[in-house]
Symmetry: D3
């Protein structure tokens, strides 16, 4: 049995969905911290992302999904098996930023010398300042951002787009750490043949599901005389599958493309003479 | 940059979803009227559908999505780029209807001569009655339909199936205007080469996504000896893609069909000898 | 017209969704017990699953969807057209179980002799005990399980995983009946040519949609020299579609697999030398 | 200990609130069917109102709150301690009515001879028809009123104002039974001195709380010379409390009045010369 | 019968509650625009506050509750019977303000000459600018404030505290009109003896209920020797009711005070030697 | 200005309501951490209860409301002005308890020697174990109780009734600390005359409001000949206010009683011959 930790809280829904796409269906995760899964070799356990890496490092869990930020905060000695970039449309990773009130005079970390910084990410923040040789007092704290930031000298907070900080009249002056979800493993579990194979298979399927999210299958029929021109429109690095048709003047062309490319390709292929163009969704893409 | 208006309110969710299907992912549309989009050439702005066409006509926006009803109401001079029929299962477009209380004696518009009509669509309603040479007073008003209709002589209201009017004991006596969503463009923006190409590409992708919603891909294997019979079952206007298989007694047949046709086709093909029949969902269909 | 009963209540959402997947879109089922459907030959009527089979047996309805448990409870004389196993990830059917408080000394049905049993499924429960020659009083009752079970000697309750019974400190001592949803038909309607054909087509499409839920399409390119090895990895009972490619060293291989198999297959095929492996979702699978 | 049944379901919230007003605070009734209460002599148990009287009659409970309709349906032999009229503003009790579709030709119960009646209140309905010497088949059924009424000949349903029946296009043709909540007691418990005193005290406090809901305290200062005139304005049956004041020209007058009377009294007293008129809310009124 | 209009929408809940406090209980106002009321002389009708005064002026309604802003906007010729200041703790009335984006250079109305103003309150806004001899184009519009304000030159919007305007980065440059709810009457209805008396009684009760909201009754026992000192602590304009007690060394003192005064008075009276001080809530206070 | 901290989170709603009862109305506390208050001498600031005492000790706030548990956890040097027991019906204060899984063999703290304890209340827990001379490792952690308790040796968690711990199959083995809300003040602010008077007045009003919650005013008329008997029924420690009436055979008796006493008193007084008994709610009671 593989004891596998799932993050309760903000990553919970996205992680459960991603495992579903990967082929592992988790039931009752809304109601129980010991949910069921349709794989008899896995025992799922839900824990806060903040504490996950501690339990993986200690061997209480064989593997788990958590953020890079909390692996660093806990200074946990684990194997990082895969980076998991869930989100479809947002470009970048989550960021912990150093912010001050709009009305503060501080514009860079060095000006916070001898100040008080409130954050949930105490160790990472301490390291950030000591690397910069700035001496500050770092206090554990979370929530109530708008007011808190005005009672201390600066805060280190998690943000995706910065918009809620702006709405609270706070100004970002630096990025302390960026973070994406990771699949991590305990070091002894990683030496165990069964567990390592299981974890690696999970990683392959998770990454295949993530890759499929931003890609589509594209099919079209092309006159043999137009084939060369149409192939030039396609991204160079992709080698399309070309198959013969009953009507020997035509071939069927099929290729997997990113959905950002699809937006450009579809109008271009239509103008380039392809017919019967369709795109269809994918469950998994293995490179 | 293309300044593109999205309708806030009743069309909002469906429009955001359709753009997502078309390949444009819009973020934060629930929280902000200046949402983000994963295309650097587009600046999305959310506005009420009722006012959209005024801002497109004035050039404040380059293009936008709104209903035909409000384009008419505002008498806006814009380019109508594409009609967008979102809804999967409902057959017809939205209708603005002229309705009276069940207990009213009125049965046709002419009997409302000298009456008072309450509506949100004042200009269209005025034109409707003046075309019929019926003299009425048209008052701006909305909401609280059931009661309102009893304080005036008739109302002109938006309805999809008529069921909420019936529930309020109102009787429809005529249709004033039918409406579907439209992609519209400012006349000067339409002369600009970059903007026009961008708007046309968006239109191609939106229509491809709409068409894909009511269609599926259908694949099956057919014995060569059954092929002619099976092809006769398929809709005449479709030319299927036929490809050879390793087993040379069989061919693979693939065709795109409407989902209403699929319901009839699948049992018929099964009886006609096709094997391994599957259907799969589509993201885009380009005619 | 086919008068077709849909179950209101706990099966409602899943049934409406399944019919949607099968190609029949039902509108307004949340608001009206006479919803609309996009098929002019069907008149949908929503009724409680508990009473459905009575109305089908009486000919008030031509056909309907309900649970096996309530067909048995009502002792209805109907044609059982198809078993419909909706749920994707849960393994088994719903169960009506005989349960007693944790603190009760009872461990098997025979020890309930002369006791009182509370249940919503009175007839089935009576038959269960009389088959076992145990004499009990069976009372109609539902809801408020935790307390009720302590006021009588035992209860017969519906459960999926048993977890809510455990949470109420109840102990399951036997299974009285297991149940899955069924498509049933009135006996006279089944003799009517039009109605029977219509019901059979609905059954084919529902089953095709159910089968598609737990399967995916899998495609890959395989070097001809690797083909035999790769084919051995695939499930034996499946005959894959193999088609030729423009590059004559390769063939395209396509196969439909269950998603539980996919989890094992994808990593194995990758290691076996297949390239461009993708999987895609299916709408319908016809065996 | 007094085992006291509280009705789960539609009466639940109003009953918990009424006991709160009476001075008994029940905790966790939303989450548990064995809630807590701040009186060590009472053990509260929540059960469906439909089954309450059976458990009181059997002595499983000493007393309980349920509707008169279900006491009759269950033909339970219990002591009816008090009628509890909860609702502040609605005038009458709940009614079970006999209803038919608007389009039915039936206008009185006698025309339903040989018909089928669907209802949750089977025994009361059977008795109603047999008293009228009308022979009908009464089927147990509930929910899905609008459709059900069209599949049988008539229904017997609970209604407060009749509006939801009208909305479902049903016509009421008779009232079968009217019902208010009752506090009932087990016959043996009623013989037990402690239990009877406890139940009677509860009844006094519940009725005092109900009476207080529709009454207010009214105070004013009146010049001695105006006193006679002012007293004539007050309802005749009330004897006001008149107390002397430091200023011997005036007296203070205090009286408890119904809030419907207050609406008329306050303007009249103001015109009649009373000063410093105030009204204040009451917790309990004992006649 | 008095046809009385209640405002649907933002004023709805507060108005229904206020009438309840005044002694008129309105039922079903959430579900129906023709709710019930426990007074047979009143027929309540719910309408949007925006249109209320038009229907009162036309005599479709005898009286109604709406805001001063919409009476002005509609230029309705009605009798203003009473100002109703609902809100307990907010100090001032609602305001329609002229606002511009923070980044705009405009600081006073005169700088908007030749600009475009978007507002729902078109007539009042036109009058405001013409009184100032500033020539602007006023467009009807509502909703989507943040974006709209950036597409035109200024907006006139309703605000209570200004905080949502600030959150949208808008700057208030002037107040166009302030508004409180009003009870208004039709001019002919006001001449009708029965209707006028009824409307006046309603007004007395509404104002008595409003006044009671911000006041409490205060009672205490005072030693006769302390009485003069204690009376000096009480607000001068109030004449307390002083009554004799069985213990002739003491008197009971009772007075009605505003709750803002109560905060100061209670600690002072305690220090001044009063004993048994209590305060209690009031339903109505008539001056 | 008095900078006064309000607890955001679980105490928030109850604290805002209590201040409202005390006469201080706080607006927008749902939306803003800098809410408004109707007292110009107070500046309210919302902060998490966990951090409140640190900011009061540092003088960032003059006073605040927080739990005794977090004052101890932060070891803050503050003035404890008043204990505030909010809850009406629950008897005891909140408790932090030491709990272990049901299946654990541990039955007392001493058996946890060398174990790991997870808790949010790290310092209090460390002190608890060191006082008992038990050596444990205390880890910061919160949430996901059910699972967590099985990954470590014991947890220290907040509970009110223990029911959610029981539902998670945990067993309480000791109470670590009990806690009620407190009004605390900064030591320097307490020396400031204005601030101290303000804080003391707030304390008087809060306690008067708390005391009023569990008490009612009781009035009745008593025949002079019954007076002695009736007075004996009343609680001995209360001295009732007795006032003369116009009818000299009777006196009016008024007394403040706890609502638990009221339940017993009202039936007894009725039997004792008192007439016109009413009870009414109170806003404040000053002892």
């Amino acid at each position: 049995m593989l004891k596998l930790g799932f993050p309760a809280g903000s990553l919970q829904k996205a992680t459960i969905e991603l495992f579903g796409k990967a082929g592992f269906h988790i039931l009752d995760s809304e109601r129980s911290y010991l949910p069921r899964i349709d794989d008899e070799q896995i025992k799922p356990i839900m824990l806060r992302a903040q504490e996950m890496s501690r339990y993986v490092a200690d061997g209480v869990l064989d593997a788990g999904v958590t953020g890079y930020d909390w692996i660093m905060e806990n200074e946990s000695d684990v194997v990082e098996v895969a980076e998991l970039a869930y989100s479809k449309a947002t470009s970048g990773p989550a960021r912990w930023v150093l912010a001050v009130p709009n009305e503060s005079k501080v514009t860079k970390p060095q000006e916070l010398q001898a100040g008080v910084i409130a954050t949930e990410l105490v160790n990472v923040t301490k390291k950030y300042f000591s690397d910069k040789k700035v001496d500050v007092k770092v206090e554990f704290s979370w929530g109530v951002t708008e007011v808190k930031a005005r009672l201390v000298d600066g805060i280190v907070e998690l943000t995706e787009t910065g918009s809620s900080l702006r709405a609270n009249n706070l100004r970002i002056i630096d990025t302390v750490i960026t973070s994406t979800p990771r699949l991590i493993a305990n070091k002894r579990a990683w030496q165990d043949e069964f567990k390592r194979a299981k974890i690696e298979n999970i990683a392959i399927l998770l990454i295949a599901a993530i890759d499929a999210r931003s890609r589509v299958g594209l099919k079209m029929n092309v006159k043999k005389s137009d084939l060369e021109a149409v192939l030039k429109i396609l991204p160079a690095e992709k080698s399309p599958t070309i198959s013969s048709l009953a009507d020997s003047d035509y071939v069927a062309v099929e290729v997997i493309v990113e959905d950002k490319v699809e937006r450009v390709l579809v109008p271009a292929l239509k103008r380039g003479g392809a017919s019967g163009i369709i795109t269809y969704p994918l469950n998994k893409v293995i490179h």
